[in-house]
Symmetry: C2
Subunit: 338 residues, 2 copies
DNA sequence: TACCCTACCGCAATCGATTGCGTGAAGAAT
DNA sequence: ATTCTTCACGCAATCGATTGCGGTAGGGTA
């Protein structure tokens, strides 16, 4: 059906090896100019499209990069992925995006199949703080970069938001509005973002001089509105010690917090201010519009892709460096003076 | 580095051919049971992972399906993609998702590279009403299914929402609230959804008995809030003939319409009711929450994937059939009695 | 004229798995 | 005891492109 290198070579009256060299830009100098022209013409006439599978088998490189994401329907990730794709495509690399559903076994399976397809490298947005898969990848020295989520052990280069200072900015914002009782709905303990945001929250309230007992922390079992709602409901059930502000582990949790505030017959921001994290799309349109920390998602993806490219090409050596992009506060209607 | 079939065969004391047959479930009966056990044991011990590239080269099948999407950051698409992936993964197929940015040339390029990688089939959510790429795919009889967007010519099987009746339901809803002047902000003319929704809108208002001159149509240049805002601003600039309801081409356009209503010093739904289409995530949380037609996105993706699998396996023949999933109205706060 | 050098191209191995064919041995049937 | 069948396995070609090596022809130099 499709024409092969052999067809082109025959049409041009040369051997396949010669045709290959003529077609490939960086071996073309090995072939006489006139021959190159003949081969190129034959290739064009036959609509020759090299078979990447065969090429990959021989060269052991596939020009594909595996991208592991917890869940594409979480709108945090598509912008990151677009950033990755944008950078990769400049070098003819293609991103293969797969969903792990936060399931480490599924992630391992997906990794295996990608590896069997000779992926040149990996960008992983689905890491847990302790993650066998990441350890294995690091141990085998497979080119890979973490994005957004980190492991506790520094094993691979990573790109994420500067969560620590982001949290401080958020808490300071609430404090500047006069809030003295700020609660935190923390994300999952086994995910770096959940952990570091919680620790940063603790640090921030202590630095400000707020009392720890006025600033309770409740855990959400996952980064979702329903988990956020459940946790916030628990938090608000004790009407004695009701906080005047809630710092949510991320925007999805913040959505659940808004629901819980509503369900408790309270309102945001009049009774309780709410701050989210990430600034995912449409947060400017929800009711009330959400004050949140903006993560430069696309740039995070781009930076990760740049690093991976450098690792793959071998141009630049990379240890397990931590790259952090600054987060910016977006003040909207969900926060108000106490 | 990684162990190959040859290693396994050596370890088991058999020829590679025999090892291959032993490893492969449907050729295993050609090998003695004891030998199978030895090979399996050797494979396990060596952590043998077959090289899919080599396999694909030989079998001419890659177990990959290309999925062409306009833009993953448009939250209409991730749920469709998840539906596709879910069905495909049951058969060991993997979806390769790529963004075309509504650029038909980019789509063609992406298609070529996927085809060079021996993709077994394609699911395309980025079709235009006239689309050279789709024509070529149909002509070359490459397994492919359209999703969400159709071409004017019926060339490939397709799965989409039942737009026609969906629009009628939406318009009838507005009419039942007493609206007699309903405007439509249509999506792009060169995309099937934009076209059919506009035609269905015309049909619906006529069926209801509304006057065409009271029901103006304005085109949005693309499916985005900014294009919707621009179009709605134009519509509302004529304060004489202001509609009491606007049926937006999709939810993103509806967001722009809400902005324009706000910018005109009007409010929704008091002055103008708004209806969207697709019911993308978070529409229940925007202000006001959006009445919209719910498209069963995941099921649309699943259905498309099922059809593609049948085509690839050759089990069932498929012509250019049109499959339509019912759309359901979700009534929220953006529509009210006139 | 003899020799060398260079440019160009063909040759064939290679990547790793699959698969139809051929062969040998064991067992069954006559 | 001989022939036939069946089962298990080895053999080698194959998929399509890449690449180092070797050979040849042409032109230049001594």
């Amino acid at each position: 059906m499709a024409s092969t290198l052999k067809d082109v070579a025959q049409a041009a009256g040369v051997h396949t090896g010669t045709a290959s060299k003529a077609l490939n830009a960086d071996t073309r100098h090995l072939v006489a100019e006139a021959t190159v022209k003949r081969v190129l013409a034959a290739a064009k006439k036959l609509h020759y499209q090299p078979n990447d599978i065969a090429r990959s088998l021989r060269t052991r490189r596939s020009q594909m990069v595996g991208v592991l994401v917890p869940d594409l329907t979480n709108s945090l990730f598509p912008p990151i992925v677009r950033g990755i794709e944008h950078v990769l495509s400049d070098s003819g690399l293609q991103a293969i995006v797969l969903n792990t559903d936060n399931n480490i076994e599924k992630a391992s399976e997906l990794f295996s199949t990608l590896w069997a397809r000779q992926c040149d490298g990996f960008i992983i947005a689905s890491a847990f703080r302790e993650d066998k898969l990441i350890e294995e990848i690091a141990e085998r020295e497979i080119p890979a970069v973490l994005v957004n989520r980190l492991t506790d052990k520094r094993l691979l280069p990573s790109v994420s938001g500067d969560e620590w200072s982001g949290v401080h900015i958020a808490v300071n914002h609430l404090a500047s509005l006069g809030h003295k009782s700020i609660a935190h709905i923390a994300g999952p303990k086994n995910i770096s973002t959940g952990n570091i945001r919680r620790l940063a929250f603790l640090d921030a309230i202590l630095k400000i001089g707020l009392k720890k007992e006025n600033c309770p922390i409740v855990f959400a079992s996952e980064y979702s509105d329903s988990a956020g709602r459940f946790a916030a409901k628990k938090l608000l059930s004790n009407s004695k010690a009701r906080p005047t502000a809630i710092f949510a582990g991320n925007d999805q949790i913040a959505m659940g917090v808004l629901d819980a505030i509503d369900a408790a017959g309270l309102s945001c921001p009049e009774d309780i201010s709410v701050v989210g994290f990430n600034n995912i799309p449409l947060m400017e349109r929800v009711n009330p519009s959400l004050t949140t920390m903006h993560l430069p998602k696309r740039r995070v993806g781009e930076a990760a892709a740049v690093i991976l490219k450098e690792i793959i090409s071998g141009e630049v050596m990379h240890g397990p460096e931590v790259h952090m992009m600054p987060c910016e506060i977006i003040i909207r209607d969900s926060t108000a003076k106490v």
